[in-house]
């Protein structure tokens, strides 16, 4: 029984940066003077060294602000939440630089002069759903690329409105599927709460459909007609980066373009069939932007990351969107059948046009016996079983799918799902790592979608218990993140396990109201110990709130010290980081 946690409006930071001399800046900021705060006996750890604090101000809300040569600290001893008593503001996201010179409280906010610029900071109360709306609006306006949502480059650093029109991601399918699932759950929540015809419901459905169609398009854009899935695609006018295998379509054929990866594999100039038609409903996504099929460039060498998210996306799309949309249902069924057949027919591998498996989409026993496969086997076996369960669910068939499933079970695939931590630990030991150094954070999302899918669909109690144990075997590494996008599916799958709703609320509350990919440095914080792991990897000792650390997707160690943002001031990210977690919580009743 889920006990709903009431999310409330919480203070969020709104920072506006100005160049010195801007007319909007109150002149008294430049001459504002205050003594350094007396912090002797201060009861809590402070982000900067006490000697580094040089000035102090109090804003209208009663919060004290301490300016330092290493950033800005907000101290609000009456904060509603313990996590918000001390907050740290720093470059690049919050301040132009970290050397604070003067502070000036004004109206509801604080003017901050640093060495190279000025920032006006307001702490505004923002509700959890309101934040989802703000972030979604930003993504729809600046990140959307023909229904795909991963990230966009910015022409002007720090200015999300300057997002350029192109810019693919290696994992467009994966990230877009995450976005699509969030939007489908938003639609389903609104439909339940507001009714099917409410404009919010209809709006949510429209966004969800567009993203689902964009994902489906990747399953057909290549024109191979063999169930393959492209990583991404580009319209003819978009630049092709040199970071993988690309094929340009022309006249029903596709030619491998010259890239380092293509040269390494001897594939440059290879011509393959690309004549299979793209369903009209999907091709509309690029045709509406004036593109035809000729000149389209798609990216191959697709990984299991993409495939896993696609399957979960198709499961939700079938269950949520297809009741009154038989055309979509047909496309989904056609797509899932093609993909699953491809995987089975190719010995549980996804094959590129060369007849060889792609680098990272292998679920075969043969792969599991390799040194990489030894650890991957536990995740990949769960992935493959999930694909089959989803396929049978969507198609309403058993037959060959069930036969393949049963063979895999007999071959020990379900047992393998339970061994993740054991194998990760042993592999780490043999290489001289601590296990935490060996964790692939990008695998967390794959683990979640695989086991969540399995636990949703599996009816056999014995198998279900194995999958729950499998999910539990990831818990040690998953719970390092306290990401509700992981922990809520875990709680749904393993209802007897406890999760920390307070920490999940903090995770949501402390996400910035923009996905501008510039974070805050963790290096040099006086209140943050650094641990050097056995093999030399450096981590910080506590999970910094989202708005006080680097920016990334669901693929990085949040304890990482080295502090490299996913794109910094030059990038805006998709909102799915927040919306995936939030709408799972809303739809399944974890959050009010």
């Amino acid at each position: 029984m889920i006990k709903p946690y009431k999310l409330t409006a919480q203070p969020c930071r709104f920072c506006t940066t100005y160049k010195k001399g801007d007319a909007a800046i109150p002149p008294e900021l430049y001459s504002a003077k205050s003594d350094a705060p007396d912090l002797c006996g201060f009861p809590l750890p402070l982000p900067s060294k006490k000697n580094d604090y040089t000035c102090r101000a109090v804003t209208m809300d009663g919060a004290e602000w301490f300016g330092a040569t290493t950033g800005l600290t907000r101290y609000f001893k009456d904060a509603e939440r313990e996590d918000d008593v001390i907050m740290f503001f720093a470059a690049d996201r919050d301040l132009p630089d970290n050397r604070v010179i003067s502070l000036l409280p004004k109206e509801d906010g604080l003017w901050v002069q640093t060495e190279t610029g000025v920032t006006y900071i307001e702490m505004r109360l923002v509700g959890a759903e309101e934040k989802a709306d703000i972030l979604l609006a930003e993504s729809v306006k600046y990140v959307d690329r023909r229904g795909m949502y991963s990230q966009k480059r910015l022409a002007v650093p720090g200015d999300v409105s300057s997002a350029v029109s192109y810019g693919h991601s290696d994992n467009d399918g994966c990230f877009t599927a995450g976005f699509a699932i969030a939007e489908m759950l938003r639609f389903a929540t609104f439909k339940r709460e507001k009714g099917a015809e409410h404009q919010d419901t209809l709006g949510a459905k429209k966004t969800a459909l567009r993203a689902v169609e964009a994902c489906l398009l990747l399953m057909h854009i290549h024109g191979r007609g063999d169930g393959f899935v492209a990583r991404s695609y580009l319209c003819p006018d978009e630049p092709v980066p040199d970071d993988g295998l690309f094929f340009r379509k022309e006249g029903g054929k596709a030619t491998c373009l010259e890239t380092k990866a293509a040269k390494k594999r001897g594939m440059v100039g290879m011509v393959i069939d690309a004549s299979a038609p793209v369903p009209d409903r999907l091709s509309k996504l690029y045709r509406d932007e004036g593109c035809g099929d000729d000149g389209i460039v798609y990216k191959a060498d697709t990984s299991s990351d993409e495939i896993s998210l696609h399957f979960l996306n198709l499961l939700f799309a079938h269950d949520i969107l297809c009741a009154d949309d038989p055309e979509l249902d047909e496309i989904i069924k056609f797509s899932v059948r093609g993909l699953m057949e491809h995987i089975i027919d190719h010995g549980y591998e996804l094959h590129d046009c060369t007849g060889q498996p792609t680098t990272w989409a292998k679920w075969s026993k043969k792969y599991f016996e390799t040194s990489h496969g030894y650890v991957d086997a536990c995740l990949n076996s769960a992935e493959l079983l999930m694909y089959l369960k989803v396929t049978m669910h969507i198609l309403g068939e058993s037959g060959k799918w069930q036969k393949a499933h049963d063979e895999l079970i007999a071959d020990g695939y379900a047992d393998l799902t339970e061994k993740h931590w054991d194998r990760l630990y042993q592999a780490g030991l043999s290489m001289g790592f601590e296990p935490v150094e060996d964790i692939m954070y990008g695998d967390h999302m794959l683990c979640v979608v695989s086991f969540w899918g399995l636990c949703m669909l599996e009816k056999d109690e014995a198998l279900l218990e194995k999958y729950r144990n499998g999910f539990r075997s990831w818990r040690t590494s998953l719970k390092r993140e306290f990401n509700p996008g992981y922990d809520l599916p875990f709680a749904l799958s393993c209802p007897d396990e406890e999760i920390d709703m307070e920490r999940m609320a903090t995770w949501l509350y402390r996400i910035n109201i923009s996905r501008l990919a510039a974070g805050v440095s963790t290096i040099g914080r006086h209140d943050t110990p650094v641990a050097t792991r056995r093999a030399g990897y450096k981590e910080i000792s506590w999970l910094l709130p989202n708005d006080e650390r680097f920016i990334s997707k669901y693929d990085r160690n949040p304890f990482e010290l080295k502090n490299v943002d996913s794109g910094g001031l030059n990038t805006v990210e998709s909102c799915y980081i927040y919306t995936f977690a939030y709408w799972i919580g809303r739809y399944y009743g974890f959050f009010e």
Partner: protein
């Protein structure tokens, strides 16, 4: 698959057992000489040996031999294992003791051999607590070799190779030796080889054969080596290799095996060992607590005053304690004479601690402003042995070494007419009977409130003859007493005038009577005549010889600070006096005991029954706790144990029993019993005893304390660990003079933002850098998340996430920058 048999040449060395340490030292020298000779004679032979203290003996006595060993270590043919000072008992030492075992040993190995030990190795220790994986990992060891309990004693623990997961989720690869650690002689070796080959084939991985004469040292003989060398050359034995546990684990890790997993602790082998020889248990607990306190105050004094740090003295004292934690010493199964040596070396450790602590406290207290204007104008009074000015209250400073605030009765050795804090506010106090017979016969007990790792100064007015003893009466207090009933704001305790037991134990918060119609705390004598000192193959002690007879019961104190009921019991020629002390605002009923024990082959237990369903017992283990079934087996524990049930009102309720020097309990169903004494023959191995006039382990006088508290919910959520810490590590009261000073009357030097995080070490780094080490652990089994630690004296304030039962060690440099490190303080990383 590597299914080889790895031949581990070793010599099990008990430095103390059926001999004293001097003989053990000689045994080490002889064994090491023999091992070096065998290394010279057999090119492939590899020798494995644990325990840093043995190497230190050799270094001190025979430098040439030590150099030979260093050379063999460099060559990879002499393999030091177990980064601990000895092979300790693995249930009784505190978590901090395990940290020190690793700290002093691994740094020794690093300095002398340029390496730290990667393999933990306690082949003879009798049980292994559930927090060991974490304690090993944080001491630099990722794999573990153990043997006891064997498969007949606990068949549930996997045989051979397995993953061992501790209470916090830490994991070490573990090898459980089958068939002994000291195979020697052709037949013995051949039988073991045959069995191991079979098991290797079945399990699909390699095995270790431990060969070499042991216990009193010895090591592999020429005969053993000749035999093994001939085996190596013969058909069918190509899978044998001279090796070490280090190599074995490296190879097994590389094999990538799907091994079984064992979660929790590994018990039981010698269930009588956790109560045999109360003396050594008491010395261990006391020394651990004194060293913790001394080091804390020495660190603070060295950081805040001109006092010099006493790190090397403290390290030497800790090494003494570590040595005496050797399993045959601390488990009480050595000869009687060995405990004379234990008393001496533990005495040295405690005297060192007391000196360092007193120096530090006086230095810190000397900075506090205790001055009264005019105090120097009057002449020193005639108050007998006190050179004080009776016109002014005397200042005292109370020091709290714990990382949470305390409010607890403390004692000074003079009577008072009034006690105030430095703001002039009255403090609850009481003049109580002193232990001396001269002057007033009175001491003062007052309730001191002291901040975490800090001090609070108080003023005590002298008691004049005119005051009489009635100064107690006017104070507001929660303590009251009447007849055989005592109560405070938490508890109402009613005693039975027939048995002297507790017939009602009511929680004042909701009126629930935890006695539930039964009588608690009836001292019960168990017959223990059928076992040996270890209690080999005996896991339960339930054969009741009788319940002690009540001799007298009386209310001996009733005042504002505390009420005391005294009971006296006898059983044949044995006597037990108990003072049940209920202090103002105290959750714990303290019981101060004196026993004069003469009952041979007996165990004295103190039982507490609790009616209800779903009973579960919970026990403190090193830096953690563990839950066990209430099946009546004798269980090792540390400062507290608890029985929690679903009570008659449907709520989970529990009764906790604390102690200041005991390590053994049992819980047969709905009753938890603290084992107070165990009086059996010294070093009686499998009871092959001739008729003789033996000495017994616990005969004579014993002074100890236990405590009782009650709670709703589960034990770990009741604050019991903090209560037990205070029960064991009480504040120190330092009488002060009148002087000017720069420091305030109340001060905390280190604070932690969450109550379930306990600091177990505040010390200076062993590398002499002046960096400060802070070690903490999570007490309640909760994923706690962010915890703030503030220590202004070193300009440090930082956050850290704590998982359930997690131990964390931090190193703070002179700039206040913090690294998270482990027991080795980051020194091995440098």
């Amino acid at each position: 698959m590597n299914k080889n048999i790895f031949l581990i040449g070793n010599a099990h060395l008990d430095p103390v057992w059926l001999w004293r340490w001097q003989e053990g030292c000689g045994e080490v020298l002889q064994t090491f000489r023999s091992a070096l000779d065998r290394l010279n004679e057999y090119d492939d032979f590899v020798f494995t040996c644990s325990s840093a203290s043995y190497y230190r003996w050799v270094e001190e006595i025979d430098k040439d031999m030590f150099e030979e060993i260093r050379e063999r270590v460099r060559q990879g043919r002499w393999i030091p294992v177990n980064g601990w000072w000895v092979q300790p008992d693995c249930n009784i030492p505190s978590g901090e003791s395990f940290a020190r075992q690793a700290l002093y040993s691994q740094l020794y190995y690093l300095e002398k051999f340029g390496m730290i030990c990667d393999v933990g190795y306690n082949v003879d220790s009798f049980g292994h607590n559930g927090n060991m994986p974490q304690l090993l990992l944080k001491g630099g060891m990722r794999s573990y070799v153990m043997m006891r309990p064997d498969i007949t004693e606990n068949p549930d623990i996997p045989e051979d190779l397995f993953w061992w997961d501790g209470v916090d989720g830490s994991r070490v690869m573990t090898y459980r030796i089958s068939g002994g650690y000291g195979k020697s002689g052709t037949d013995g070796i051949d039988k073991a080889l045959s069995s191991l080959k079979e098991r290797a084939a079945k399990k699909g991985h390699g095995m270790m054969l431990f060969y070499g004469v042991g216990n009193h040292g010895g090591g592999p003989t020429k005969g053993d080596l000749e035999h093994l060398c001939s085996k190596l050359k013969s058909d069918g034995f190509s899978e044998l290799e001279f090796s070490s546990p280090v190599e074995y684990f490296e190879k097994m890790c590389a094999e990538r095996l799907d091994l079984p997993v064992w979660r929790g602790d590994m018990q039981h082998h010698a269930s009588g060992c956790y109560s045999a020889v109360s003396l050594v248990k008491k010395l261990n607990r006391k020394a651990e607590n004194m060293l913790f306190s001394a080091e804390t105050w020495n660190t603070i004094a060295s950081k805040t005053t001109a006092m010099t740090a006493a790190s090397s003295d403290l390290a030497e004292a800790w090494r003494n304690v570590c040595f005496n934690q050797f399993h045959d010493i601390l488990c009480g199964c050595s000869i009687m004479e060995a405990y004379e040596d234990v008393r001496d070396s533990m005495g040295h450790a405690m005297a060192t601690a007391a000196r360092i602590e007193n120096n530090a406290m006086l230095k810190i207290a000397g900075q506090i402003d205790t001055w009264f204007d005019g105090v120097s104008d009057t002449v020193v009074s005639s108050a007998r042995h006190h050179c004080r000015n009776v016109n002014f209250p005397r200042p005292v400073v109370v020091f709290n070494p714990l990382s949470h605030e305390i409010s607890v009765p403390v004692r000074t050795y003079h009577p008072s007419s009034r006690v105030t804090d430095f703001n002039g506010s009255d403090v609850v106090f009481q003049n109580v009977r002193s232990s001396r017979s001269n002057d007033s016969h009175l001491d003062t007990v007052f309730v001191a409130k002291v901040p975490p790792m800090g001090y609070a100064a108080y003023r005590l007015d002298w008691l004049s003859k005119e005051d009489g003893e009635n100064v107690n009466n006017a104070q507001k207090t929660d303590v009251s007493a009447s007849g055989l009933t005592i109560e405070n704001k938490y508890l109402k305790v009613v005693f039975d005038d027939k048995t002297g037991g507790i017939k009602s134990l009511v929680s004042k918060s909701d009126g629930f009577d935890y006695a539930g119609g039964k009588t608690l705390a009836l001292p019960t004598v168990i017959d223990d005549s059928k076992t040996d000192t270890w209690a080999h193959k005996v896991f339960k002690f339930h054969d009741i010889r009788g319940v002690m007879e009540l001799v007298s019961i009386e209310l001996v104190e009733s005042g504002p600070a505390r009420a005391v009921i005294r009971t006296k019991h006898r059983f044949n020629e044995s006597h037990l006096t108990q003072n049940f002390i209920l202090g103002s605002c105290q959750r714990v009923l303290r019981v101060k005991c004196k026993a004069m024990w003469q009952e041979d082959f007996s165990i004295l237990k103190m039982p507490f029954a609790l009616e209800g369903g779903d009973p579960i017992s919970t026990y403190e283990i090193p830096s953690s706790f563990i839950k066990r079934p209430c099946n009546g087996e004798e269980e090792p524990a540390q400062g507290w144990a608890d029985l929690t049930v679903t009570a008659s009102d449907g709520l989970r309720r529990g009764i906790s029993v604390l102690n200041d020097s005991k390590y053994s309990y049992d819980c047969p169903g709905n009753e938890i019993r603290l084992t107070l004494l165990r009086n059996v023959i010294f070093a009686d191995h499998f009871s092959h005893r001739p008729k003789a006039d033996f000495d017994f382990t616990d005969e004579g006088l014993h002074r100890f304390e236990y405590g009782i508290s009650v709670h709703m919910g589960e034990a770990e959520n009741s604050g019991i660990t903090a209560d037990a810490a205070l029960f064991n590590c009480r504040p120190t009261v330092v009488p002060e003079g009148y002087h000017k000073g720069t420091e305030p009357p109340v001060k905390s030097f280190l604070s932690v933002t969450k109550p379930n995080i306990a600091v177990t070490a505040l010390k200076l780094c062993e590398d002499g850098s002046g960096d400060t080490i802070i070690r903490c652990y999570e007490t309640d089994g909760k994923d706690t998340g962010r915890v703030g630690i503030v220590c202004d004296m070193i300009d440090a304030g930082f956050w850290a996430d704590f998982g359930k039962n997690e131990i964390k060690t931090f190193r703070v440099d002179s700039e206040g920058h913090v690294k998270e490190t482990d027991f080795l303080e980051g020194i091995a990383e440098e």
